[in-house]
Symmetry: C2
Subunit: 338 residues, 2 copies
């Protein structure tokens, strides 16, 4: 698949007989397979088991899930309940479900049109966000990213990786350092795959090597996506992000977040209120069919961590850049749309 | 194997017909298999491919390797050259080889006796180091460790893990958080295995989750081993250690190192002069038989990083505790033995 065609989800066909297709992100980069979903239960499972992942992509998948629910006789409100509990941290999921439920249409056709417009909004928003963020990236910079916040995580060119791709396309000479991102290796499997297709020079590292590269002066800027941003700017993102931010601060490296406005949760004051999903220990203790740790060993496997706002230089959104990252600036951003 | 019998290497038999046996650490904890080495080339390969690892254990393995070399007609000086280049960072390797070469004996018997005495020194030194370090661990503490600095990494009870085991055996209620330690998972595979056998309560985490646990107040002390300590206290240890130290400083958590005096390299002034081994990219890009990242992706896979002395609260050694960690204190430690 050419770089410009990387997309994690698409609705194929009309509202009556069509279906939602997901690129199976669990088996990338080894194989490129699409799975076809025709019921809300299938959509819920695909989100839980991470066939699709990335906060914006999860939101759009859930939106199409409501179309499938209503077409199958499941009321939109019930679909919301089923889908909302699949991944507790990413707030874009709730945001998209609320938009779909508020539409109130009992007709799949109207709901499909709305889901498609949310999808198009995301595509356009990604592009604006990428332009905003790319201004911060200068030629010659080393840029670190964690997890995957690219086309695979969104409807469009991506959030953090959209910013990076835009800088590259502007002709800036950049080198991207990709945290492999344990336990599910979204950096190694997905971000490296996207960057290879985009032709962006990049180097894969273990998460623990990022600090060492900062100490060697190889990294000038960090940018990641986000799963939920509290009203004060505290940002939940893939586990390990906070460690990157602390190390960036220690080394005087700028740490940025790229996220659409749908990632902000103005209903909670700070990051301590963001629910952090804990996933199955087997993600850490096993690989393929082999165990990598003793059976007696217990595991703590939080999927996300929270980076406090003071560690974040700015947040790139489709409505512009939030800087400084604090409650007043975020409130101004919210007003800019209403 | 019972906990008190965990040992990574042993010479079986006499000098003339005996051999060096290594517990194959590449396949733990799945299988416990011993490999038998009868030549210096076999010993060199076992160190390079990490059948044995951990700075003190590598040193002792190399010492026995000199016995095998001389018995096979390879002069000790040539054995030193062959073995010294197997792993460039751990200085205990050079230290042990120099002790063996200085002995000057052309007889395997005399060399075996010296190797055995180095081994016994390490056992006794581990015990004293453990007692010294355990004083810093209070009941109720959460203790983080990175990589494996236990019995499997040494001749005795271990360095960092010896300290932790001693605190546990003193009846202190502690909980150990074990960084899995990518790319080779020595934490998940080896440290968790040792702690399970010792009955020490522990939780395995991905390296990226350590910062999050510190922010939640779960960790009061960090302790790791070391592969080489410069004259000013800058400490090379497994990649990811430096990130732990930076995060510990950010959260006001004490970061300690445990290492025998043979880990100090007084010939180099600071950590910038410590050679950092880079290992094969396949440690990061593949798992078992499966690739986890695209073929186009390049990898940076340093085996170690350097933690600057100011981030280290103290160093536990068999000669007592070095605090503060600076050139003057280390020079005093060196004089204490001469």
């Amino acid at each position: 698949m050419p770089a410009h065609e990387i997309r994690p989800l698409e609705w194929r066909g009309d509202a009556r007989t069509g279906a939602l297709y997901l690129l199976d992100q669990r088996i990338l980069p080894g194989r490129e397979e699409w799975v076809c979903l025709r019921s809300v239960e299938e959509v819920a499972r695909a989100i839980s088991d991470m066939t699709v992942r990335g906060a914006p992509a999860i939101g759009l998948t859930a939106a199409y899930g409501v179309v499938l629910a209503v077409r199958g006789g499941v009321p939109a409100a019930e679909a919301r309940t089923i889908l909302a509990r699949t991944r507790p941290t990413a707030v874009n999921l709730i945001w998209a479900l609320d938009r779909m439920v508020a539409h109130g249409s009992p007709e799949p056709q109207g709901l499909l049109e709305l889901a498609r417009s949310l999808h198009e909004e995301d595509v356009a928003g990604n592009r604006r966000m990428a332009e905003t963020g790319a201004r911060r990236i200068g030629s010659g910079m080393g840029v670190l990213t964690h997890c995957n916040a690219g086309a695979l995580a969104t409807g469009g060119v991506g959030t953090a990786l959209g910013v990076i791709a835009a800088a590259h396309q502007q002709g800036k000479r950049i080198h991207v350092y990709v945290d492999e991102t344990r336990p599910r290796l979204q950096g190694a499997r997905l971000t490296a795959w996207e960057l290879a297709r985009l032709g962006v020079p990049h180097t894969l590292i273990c998460d623990g090597a990022a600090a060492s590269l900062m100490a060697r002066g190889k990294i000038q800027l960090c940018v990641t996506g986000a799963d939920r941003i509290a009203a004060n700017g505290d940002t939940a993102n893939k586990i390990g992000t906070y460690s990157v931010a602390v190390n960036a601060r220690h080394h005087g490296v700028a740490f940025h977040v790229a996220a659409p406005f749908s990632t902000f949760d103005l209903s909670i004051p700070d990051g301590s209120r963001i629910p952090i999903e804990e996933r199955d220990p087997s993600e850490v203790t096993a690989w393929g069919t082999g165990r990598t740790s003793p059976r007696e060993t217990t595991v703590f496997n939080p999927a996300f961590d929270v980076t406090p706002a003071p560690l974040i230089r700015s947040i790139f959104t489709e409505r512009g850049e939030v800087e400084p990252v604090d409650a007043a600036a975020i409130a101004r951003l919210a007003r800019s749309a209403s």
